[in-house]
Symmetry: C2
């Protein structure tokens, strides 16, 4: 796969408080975030940082998932790809590399195509095709 992390997502306990710290306090750009949105993308150079309510993680990943500390996963790394077929190919590559399939890629609620694998320590990677925003 192309050597790039598209997005790092932090599971946060209070989205408004986190936005206040990162966007308002540190000045990181979130040009497409509005109050009340369910997720905040900080559109950084290179790799984006997203802030996502921690209690939504199980919904996103769709299956029970044990993170390295034994709790709900609170960090994910996303690798975006230019097509659904490229997502499937990257997932096959990851599994061949020793990663664990967590969620078979499928059409997802936000309009893209996405699946998850876990690395040897259980860190969760999303492989995604986003037809709206090119982060590949």
């Amino acid at each position: 796969m192309k050597p790039k992390i598209s997005i790092i997502t932090l599971g946060v306990s209070n989205l408004s408080e986190s936005v206040a710290c990162y966007r308002d306090g540190l000045g990181l750009p979130a040009p497409n975030y509005s109050d009340g949105d369910g997720i905040c993308f900080l559109e950084l150079e290179g790799t984006w940082l997203s802030l996502y309510p921690r209690d939504h993680f199980p919904i996103e990943a769709d299956v029970p998932f044990a993170d390295p500390s034994g709790g709900t996963p609170t960090v994910t790394l996303a690798h975006n790809l230019p097509s659904r077929e490229a997502v499937d190919a990257a997932m096959a590559e990851a599994v061949a590399a020793g990663a664990t399939l967590v969620k078979q890629p499928e059409d997802v609620f936000w309009g893209g195509y996405s699946g998850y694998f876990a690395d040897p320590d259980g860190y969760l990677w999303e492989l995604a095709h986003n037809p709206f925003t090119d982060l590949t």
Copy 2:
């Protein structure tokens, strides 16, 4: 601060196994890693990914630190800066933004200058000046 994450570090339980997955299996570039090294930098486009033995995290951050799950922190994000003075200024900015000072910036064992703050959820950010490699 400049809107960029320089490095994301995963705390791993077995460095060799993780290198086998990421470098050998997924083909991510680690041109400066040699067997026996204590850390592996995957030199990605945008944000680098580093693999670091989990049991070394307390040594790196230098102080007891409670991560969001209550255990040893196993993920850090690094933001690199062009000078020691810029590290100090960014730390002051972070604290003013509501972050918590975890480790005052100081000269560190690898030859740079670095400190840590925690965001509202306890996620650990390193602010660092690296005189050897420019990731700013």
